[in-house]
């Protein structure tokens, strides 16, 4: 279909003419997007359907971020966007023009581990390791969220500042499933890093 390439090129233009009149166009639509990942800009041309997760893994070959369920149900794809943790499977790459994205590769490297990575190693916070990058990104964000005073389901007094308790950490980590059941070691790793911070 001749029109689709043009539609793609215009896709990001403000107020561009939308919706092809036949309600079902079956040709893929492409669009350009600039992603700032771990401090480096990348200009990509992606199918508009590309999730941020697939853009990271398939286009940028940053395979640290994992795909578990692809439906927001497991947390394996957790990354940080503008400082907030999100599930990268439930957002589109084209929605992140110019956003600052941090993946597990940007948190630390084998020679220069992030304290949370080091704590997961010393506490055996994993078995197969598949959920681990998501767990670690989430854990780093959890400590920031508690620091910012964001309440959780287990915060007893919702108008007071939440504490760094194991209960708080456990509740806030519930969006990261571990099929190997490494939960208790994960909580120990996070508690250790939290203790160093507090």
């Amino acid at each position: 279909m001749a029109g689709s390439a043009t539609a793609g090129a215009q896709a990001l233009a403000k107020g561009s003419e939308p919706a092809p009149s036949p309600p079902r166009s079956l040709e893929p639509v492409h669009s350009r997007v600039r992603l700032r990942v771990n401090g480096t800009d990348h200009d990509l041309e992606v199918d508009t359907r590309t999730s941020l997760l697939d853009a990271l893994r398939e286009h940028l070959h940053l395979t640290g971020t994992k795909k578990g369920c692809d439906h927001g149900q497991c947390g394996a794809c957790t990354i940080m966007v503008d400082g907030q943790r999100i599930n990268s499977c439930l957002t589109l790459a084209v929605m992140h023009e110019g956003d600052a994205i941090t993946t597990i590769e940007g948190l630390g490297t084998p020679d220069k581990l992030h304290p949370m990575q080091a704590a997961f190693i010393s506490h055996d916070g994993y078995q197969c390791g598949y959920c681990t990058p998501g767990q670690i990104c989430s854990a780093v964000a959890v400590l920031e969220e508690i620091g910012q005073g964001i309440p959780s389901h287990v915060t007893a007094d919702i108008s007071a500042a939440p504490s760094l308790s194991a209960d708080e950490i456990r509740e806030r980590m519930s969006g990261n499933i571990c099929r190997c059941g490494a939960y208790s070691n994960i909580i120990e790793a996070i508690t250790e890093v939290a203790g160093r911070r507090a």
């Binding site: 092809p20 166009s25 639509v29 508009t48 589109l92 964001i150």
Partner: protein, 317 residues
């Protein structure tokens, strides 16, 4: 997922006009829409991304309430100091839902418009009147444990899955919308979500292309604000039953239920029974309920959850 074009409009008016076109759909956090698009339950050919619109602030209104922008995230809304102090039932409902990651993306408008979690709605191999009108309802006579016990129809017995909406119902919030032609409306929460009737595919009072611009909270309702959610695991699960309540000294108050109907369930007349206790209130609230064998437990669960709330409130006095 089927292919689609994508645009980021520069103003709410442009967004509403774009969303009114056939086959177009608004996208905010994307946490429900993209899930459903991957399964081709939703098949828009054009996405209108509202994230660039400046609808992400919470402001005091002239009459002592709050105006919550449609794009305020579930995290930011739950964490707002005014909401935690004056509308704690809303903060509590929000933090009981989904996960930290999802709440960071989920928006106020998107949360209201999230679609049912009926397992047959999600299973595209099965008939479902909500997904394909006229095809039949696979849930009736099927697995109904999670489904509605009241207000359902021969066409659909789904429930509305939002926790936030139950709190907004008990707070008498209003939804502010903008149409493609530029007219604004304010819809009370009581009228926002519909019962399924013969058209379960029509879930709200919105028309095609209506953009939600804000949710308005009236001045705070005094009393003890509670949200209790009962579910199959302690976190990261939808409600079997939830109870949002505001209880004043002396046992008067308001109550709304989640997990029992196609909309947040509130019967104002039942609230006069609150001083008489959970049994009397539940009997009035769920009068006319038609549960199945598999979900009749929800009636008991509502009564016991409400009883726990009322006795906590008495204990705190």
């Amino acid at each position: 997922m089927i292919p689609f074009t994508y645009e980021r409009p520069g103003s709410p008016a442009e967004a509403a006009a774009a969303a009114a076109k056939p086959g177009a759909k608004l996208i905010a956090g994307g946490t429900n829409l993209l899930d459903l698009m991957k399964l081709e339950i939703e098949t828009p050919v054009h996405l209108v991304d509202v994230n660039g619109l400046a609808l992400d602030t919470i402001e005091a209104t002239g009459d002592g309430g709050l105006r919550i922008g449609a794009l305020v995230s579930n995290t930011d809304l739950a964490a707002d100091a005014r909401v935690r102090r004056d509308y704690a039932v809303l903060s509590r409902a929000l933090v009981s839902g989904a996960s930290g990651q999802l709440r960071n993306k989920a928006t106020t408008a998107g949360n209201l418009l999230q679609r049912t979690r009926c397992p047959y709605f999600y299973d595209t191999a099965q008939p479902c009147n909500k997904r394909s009108p006229g095809s039949g309802c696979s849930a009736i006579g099927g697995m109904t444990r999670q489904l509605a016990i009241i207000g359902a129809s021969e066409a659909c017995i789904a429930t509305h899955p939002s926790d936030m909406a139950v709190a907004l119902r008990v707070l008498d919030a209003e939804i502010e919308t903008l149409s493609g032609e530029g007219t604004t409306r304010r819809i009370p929460m009581a009228e926002f979500h519909r019962l399924p009737g013969d058209t379960p595919e029509i879930e709200t009072a919105l028309n095609a292309g209506n953009l939600i611009t804000a949710v308005i909270l009236p001045r705070p309702v005094p009393g003890r604000h509670v949200y209790r959610k009962v579910r199959d695991r302690a976190s990261y699960a939808f409600a079997l039953v939830s109870v949002a309540a505001i209880i004043e000294d002396g046992g008067r108050g308001r109550v709304a239920l989640g997990g029992v109907a196609h909309k947040p369930w509130r019967v104002e007349a039942a609230e006069s029974e609150l001083a008489r206790g959970a049994r009397a209130t539940t009997a009035r609230l769920l009068e006319g309920a038609r549960p199945s064998r598999d979900n009749a437990f929800k009636i008991t669960l509502v009564e016991r959850t409400l009883d726990a709330i009322l006795s906590d409130a008495r204990g705190a006095q």
